[in-house]
Symmetry: C2
Subunit: 197 residues, 2 copies
């Protein structure tokens, strides 16, 4: 089906190169010249595949958002006790962050200067609200501590989760450190750092 090695670009393969450069230099700090050097083709050749720089951004953040919203449709996010749904969404968000690392990284750094960026920010907020609602339900069940504000806790929890993109790098061999990271996030989030649980 897929050819073993491809010498020419498609919008897809070009995207993976572009996203990597965007994450290294920042989207605004990346020129079409930078992209052409990284891809090994001329600037004008890039315009053969995509209409411009912003289309690359749109494709990238779309992929990230699809991954995140997909989590909310999974069975584990829609049945069972609310606290278990929260744990499921937390685990799966960490997993999606690692699996789609460059795309989610770009999404989380979007500022809002263009129409595409503002659309991405809006969809992100939507995801955050869906998650916040889950935590509210868990609080109503009495499964979350009552001495913290739930909205605040949601932000801190997903702040911790999202910080993954700042330091996580997949192991060269593709070895299984993914499970370790997922477990650690869940343990810290739900039971904390201190001993004695």
């Amino acid at each position: 089906m897929t050819t073993a090695r491809r010498d020419t670009y498609t919008p897809e393969t070009l995207l993976s190169v572009a996203v990597q450069v965007f994450n290294e230099r920042g989207y605004d700090g990346t020129s079409m010249e930078h992209l052409s050097k990284a891809a090994g083709i001329s600037k004008s050749s890039i315009y053969h595949h995509v209409t411009g720089k912003e289309e690359l951004l749109r494709r990238a953040v779309s992929r990230a958002l699809d991954g995140l919203f997909g989590i909310l449709d999974e069975p584990g996010a829609n049945r069972g006790r609310a606290i278990e749904r929260v744990e499921h969404v937390t685990r799966r968000t960490v997993a999606v962050l690692m699996d789609e690392l460059p795309y989610v990284t770009l999404l989380l750094r979007v500022r809002g200067n263009t129409r595409t960026e503002r659309w991405a920010l809006e969809r992100r907020r939507e995801f955050d609200h869906r998650v916040a609602d889950l935590l509210k339900a868990a609080a109503a069940d009495g499964d979350l501590r009552t001495d913290v504000d739930i909205r605040l806790a949601t932000r801190l929890l997903f702040g911790m989760v999202n910080s993954l993109v700042e330091w996580y790098r997949p192991l060269p061999g593709g070895a299984g450190d993914r499970e370790q990271v997922v477990d650690t996030v869940v343990r810290l989030a739900f039971d904390g750092l201190r001993t004695g649980h």
Copy 2:
């Protein structure tokens, strides 16, 4: 001492305007034209106060770094049990993030395209290492849970702390929500989200 109202700019007052714009549009997404509009003076007038855009960035991240490294010199960070020093540094880092919000926000978003940015990244790494060493000491004291990797836990803890800059906004009246945020961060970090502690 300080004049009640000042009609002209100093490097200091110009900085606070610039940092705000940098945080809204991103450093690379901000042109001198943007800055001049926001400050209400012409582009060339800005060059009377600072040598260029990068000096504004350097002043801003310096201020943030001074605040953070200042924490490590405080008595609470250098005496007592390691776990208590960790808690002190955590509390104070949250406080500094809130007090110097725009400056720390800018610091945490630096990518590394210029010499100034790379210097900022290096100093940030230095701070992170100092904190990681504190957690290592707390682990050696047996005060941290043993089923998580300490380096990983450090990153997640400060990922949670640093995520503050993405959503925290000071209350208009200057009301005291600061203590609530500090307490919540410490509770979640050390004892977790779940009930039953």
